[in-house]
């Protein structure tokens, strides 16, 4: 059933493209139904997983016998959690794009293609198939940004596409090398994990592949595409990009690099841990200095992804589960933040400049937005009660033994995170209280529509529920980490 998330998205994408000429308004319903369907299928399909954290094979047929590649879809607890994230983010994205009118059919067509590719990545169990879906995701990203984006969209789109392609080129080299070194004419993840390579090979392969994936995950200093790209992208694309696509990179690091080349972790953990830690702090510091609302969120995404990467290289059970948890949590929260900035504020006020926004007394004019953003901001800060706290707690505790310095730096990053979040909340929504009330805007701002409320409600509920009852996710993630797939990693890092 889980595989249908994939097929449904691609089919809906085709339908949406088809509807582009005749009835574009239909395409948003197609998109909504398919993303909701994907979410439902994701939740329902998860129950088919064997209890105690096993692997559920969905489809396994030979694909390219010449290479030994199979069309092999499978899911374990981690995949399932990320499938849920995709479903949530996709549905919310559609809801927040309800007002797209320019070439709507194509918009939703590209959007759904992207969503389908993401499902494909999360459900692939054959490395070549994994890579194919990963690459498929690049082109829709480019067009979504280039056609419907805003600030410097063509530059942002190209930068994003090239960086992603470069990262995946690095991964491909590693994959080819690994495939040939292991021999056996197979790309199957389980088989490859049972035939470890020599320590030296694992070492450089880990470095190469982790780096390649980490580019998409926004690891400092290869993150520069992210703020530009996210700011340039239209709202739904930003939500998906920051919320889910960056997680593709991290997922690749986990599924491929950490699982297949655990010996390499010892050699590279120091370097990547340092980069992750720097990224957390640096992203936060730069966010503090931005004057464009969306750039603040863009840089905060870089900072939050640093937590994911830190958790991954910590290599401990807590670190890894924290990383996956943060992938989910940040996916939701980033989606929410971009939705507010793009759809709720920018579409109405037509500016993202913090100083200009601070003149508009938005807390009075758009109270729902103010509350939503405040809650999202609190979640983003890592306030307990929201999902971000549980994620960051796990990551930091998991990384403590290995990287105490970077944990401390990350702590400072959290504090800076508070600072920039409060700054933005205050500037955008709650300033202008003391100054003379500005003259009433020339026309009243459009009230928040129902789709926006639904989308915001959905995402807020998700982050709260998961924050208050994390076992909803942990009960899936932790058993998955105990499977034989991670046995070698466990042995080496001594869980």
């Amino acid at each position: 059933m889980l595989a249908w998330t994939l097929y449904l998205s691609f089919a809906a994408a085709l339908a949406s493209f088809g509807a582009a000429r005749c009835c574009p308004a239909l395409s948003r319903w197609i998109a909504l139904l398919s993303s909701l369907g994907g979410l439902t299928l994701g939740i329902a399909g998860a129950w088919a997983l064997p209890s105690g954290g096993g692997l559920l094979t969905l489809v396994k047929v030979p694909w390219i016998p010449l290479l030994g590649a199979e069309y092999h879809l499978a899911a374990d607890g981690i995949s399932v959690v990320l499938v849920w994230l995709t479903g949530l983010a996709a549905t919310a994205g559609v809801l927040f794009s309800w007002n797209v009118s320019h070439r709507a059919g194509e918009f939703f067509g590209w959007y759904l293609t992207l969503v389908g590719a993401v499902y494909g990545v999360f459900l692939s169990w054959d490395l070549l198939l994994f890579f194919v879906f990963y690459e498929i995701a690049i082109v829709p990203k480019y067009f979504l940004i280039a056609i419907w984006g805003s600030t410097r969209r063509e530059y942002g789109a190209m930068k994003l596409a090239l960086y992603s392609f470069a990262g995946s080129a690095a991964v491909l080299i590693g994959l080819i090398a690994a495939y040939l070194l292991v021999g056996g004419n197979t790309f199957d993840l389980t088989h490859l994990s049972t035939r470890p390579l020599s320590e030296a090979s694992q070492s450089w392969l880990f470095g190469l592949i982790f780096l390649g994936f980490a580019v998409l995950a926004g690891l400092w200093p290869f993150h520069t595409w992210a703020p530009t790209g996210h700011v340039a992208a239209p709202t739904a694309a930003s939500m998906l990009l920051a919320g889910v696509i960056m997680k593709l990179g991290a997922y690749g690091c986990l599924r491929v690099a950490l699982t297949l080349f655990p010996a390499g972790l010892a050699a590279w953990a120091g370097v990547f841990g340092a980069l992750a830690g720097i990224g957390i702090l640096w992203g936060a510091l730069v966010a503090l200095r931005q004057t464009d609302f969306k750039f603040v969120i863009g840089y905060s995404s870089v900072s939050h992804m640093g937590f994911v990467m830190l958790g991954l290289v910590a290599g401990t059970s807590l670190g890894l589960s924290g990383a996956v948890f943060q992938m989910f949590s940040h996916g939701i929260i980033a989606g929410l933040l971009f939705a507010v900035v793009g759809r709720m504020v920018y579409d109405r006020c037509h500016t993202r400049n913090l100083d200009e926004l601070s003149q508009q007394r938005l807390a009075h004019v758009l109270p729902f937005t103010a509350i939503t953003f405040t809650l999202a901001g609190l979640a983003s800060m890592g306030l307990p009660g929201f999902s971000g706290f549980v994620a960051e707690l796990q990551v930091l505790t998991g990384a403590w033994t290995r990287f105490p310095v970077w944990v401390a730096i990350a702590g400072i990053g959290l504090i800076v995170g508070v600072a920039y979040t409060l700054r933005v909340i205050q500037l955008v929504f709650f300033s202008g209280e003391t100054t003379v009330p500005s003259p009433a805007p020339s026309e009243p701002l459009e009230p928040i529509s129902l789709p926006e409320k639904l989308g915001a409600g959905m995402l807020l509920t998700a982050t709260l529920v998961v924050g208050l009852y994390p076992r909803l996710l942990l009960d899936w993630i932790l058993p998955a980490l105990q499977t034989p797939l991670f046995a070698e990693l466990r042995r080496r890092t001594g869980w």
Partner: protein
């Protein structure tokens, strides 16, 4: 080898004979009947006739099963040859269809005849393991193509391009002939199989290396590898659409295959090694240098182009580099990889020329700006062009991705210790560069809004159908690459 009698020879030769006959027929009919008619009408009729003929030729391929080798290896029908001939016929057929709705020359009959002769030359090239026969076939196809290039009588540069093509090509042919004669002189044979055994005894002889280099030079010209690429940008730009398509697809496929056969079968033991910092003399390092320079020059030059066709030319040079990498792979892996790549590449490039042809017919200049707003002016064309360009860029699930993947894996397999991986690294790095200019083509197509004075584009039905079929083929072959290999396997059993 069983000696063939003439009857059997005829049967083996059937496809080529059909083509020969057809060439004459088309020429004759056009001269007889076409005197008073419009060029467009004559073009259509000639195209139709030629197309039918090509189909018929294809049928004869299967109707008359192979009979083994002709004496001296002149004609060889290996399992693969059938497939190759079929592939070449398909590429030729598709290129020809692009002729249907154009009218760039009044010499329609000549055009079709030359076209068929070029195809015939290509078929002969792949069907032989004899150096001399190879040369004859090479010349047949080359000369026909030179003539065809000049027939774009709407462009003055067409003649110039043809002349350039001719000069470079003749020089290359001269090199090849010289090389072949040296090889004969050294080994005493012009058959690939014997060549292999005799050449291995001569390793270290500098004259052998000279012969090798010269021979490769000739075929390097055919596939437009650096430094034999000088003709490509001009020819791609100025030749008529169908010709450029054939040059870019069929001629390349044949060229790659011949090179593969020659080097792997004929001169296999002389391979040498091109591992990083482990160079030993042989043709592998030569190919490595060619590949490297082709990829570099091709990709970097493509970045600077403002003419669409020239961009395709430079990208073709780069793609030749990738193919050369595949050529360097182990024989078992390299062959299917190269063939898949070359065939699907051919399909994509024919498609691109098809789209460009439609634009030219409606009077647009050969510039990026002509593509602006294509998504609105003709969504079908936009979709097709997007498919073709993305396949060239190597984006899954289109065939181009797998083509490159197979090539790289094949190359990496050689030696067992990933010695050629450095080439793959360079290739992938340059692929990233190539994505930039491919996306630059698609930008005006899909992103920009059409100019206010633009009018919708209605591609003619035959062309449109061809393009859609090509796009679909690329998608299907990309999603299920196995189909092509199955086709090969099925054909080999015939």
């Amino acid at each position: 080898m069983t000696p063939l009698d003439y009857g059997e020879l005829l049967r083996t030769f059937s496809t080529e004979l059909v083509l020969l006959f057809l060439a004459g027929l088309v020429l004759f009919l056009d001269l007889r009947r076409g005197l008073g008619e419009t060029v467009a009408c004559r073009t259509r009729r000639a195209t139709g006739l030629t197309a039918v003929g090509l189909v018929f030729a294809g049928i004869t391929l299967f109707a008359f099963p192979p009979l083994g080798d002709a004496p001296g290896g002149t004609f060889v029908l290996r399992s693969l040859t059938l497939w190759l001939k079929a592939a070449l016929l398909i590429l030729s057929f598709t290129s020809l269809l692009l002729l249907a709705d154009t009218e760039f020359t009044p010499h329609v009959g000549e055009f079709c005849a030359l076209f068929l002769l070029a195809t015939e030359g290509l078929l002969l090239m792949v069907g032989t393991e004899n150096l001399l026969m190879l040369f004859i076939a090479l010349e047949l196809s080359s000369l026909s193509l030179y003539g065809l290039t000049a027939l774009n009588q709407r462009l003055r540069t067409s003649t110039e391009a043809a002349l350039k093509y001719f000069f470079v090509g003749s020089t290359a042919a001269a090199f090849t002939l010289f090389g072949i004669s040296l090889l004969y002189g050294l080994t005493g044979t012009i058959q690939f199989s014997t060549l292999a055994t005799r050449a291995s005894a001569l390793t270290g002889d500098p004259l052998l290396w000279l012969a090798l280099a010269l021979t490769i030079a000739g075929f390097g010209f055919k596939i437009a590898a650096v430094p034999f690429h000088a003709w490509a940008p001009d020819v791609y730009q100025a030749a008529p659409g169908p010709v450029a398509a054939l040059v870019a697809s069929g001629s390349k496929l044949a060229g790659f295959f011949v090179l593969l056969r020659l080097l792997q079968t004929g001169l296999g033991p002389l391979a040498g090694s091109a591992g990083w910092l482990q160079f030993t003399s042989g043709w592998l390092p030569v190919l490595a240098v060619l590949a490297l320079t082709s990829m570099l020059v091709g990709n970097l030059a493509a970045l600077a182009q403002t003419s669409l066709r020239r961009l395709v030319a430079w990208s073709a040079i780069a793609q030749a580099g990738y193919a050369l990498i595949g050529l360097m792979g182990t024989p078992e892996a390299g062959e299917p990889a190269l063939l898949y790549f070359a065939f699907t590449y051919g399909l994509a490039v024919i498609g691109v020329f098809g789209v460009l042809g439609v634009l030219e017919t409606s009077g647009e200049p050969d510039r990026f700006e002509s593509l602006t707003g294509l998504w609105r002016r003709s969504p079908a064309l936009a979709i097709c062009l997007t498919t073709f360009v993305l396949s060239l860029a190597g984006i899954p699930p289109l065939a181009g991705f797998f083509g490159k993947l197979f090539l790289f894996i094949a190359a990496a397999r050689r030696g067992g210790s990933l010695e050629l991986l450095w080439l793959v690294v360079v290739a992938l790095g340059l692929s990233v560069v190539s994505l930039y200019y491919y996306l630059r083509i698609l930008k005006p197509v899909l992103v920009a809004d059409p100019a206010t004075d633009s009018r919708p584009l209605n591609p003619p039905p035959v062309t449109l159908l061809t393009l859609i079929t090509l796009a679909a083929a690329l998608l299907i072959l990309g999603c299920v690459p196995q189909l092509l290999f199955l086709g090969m396997a099925w054909l080999s059993k015939q």
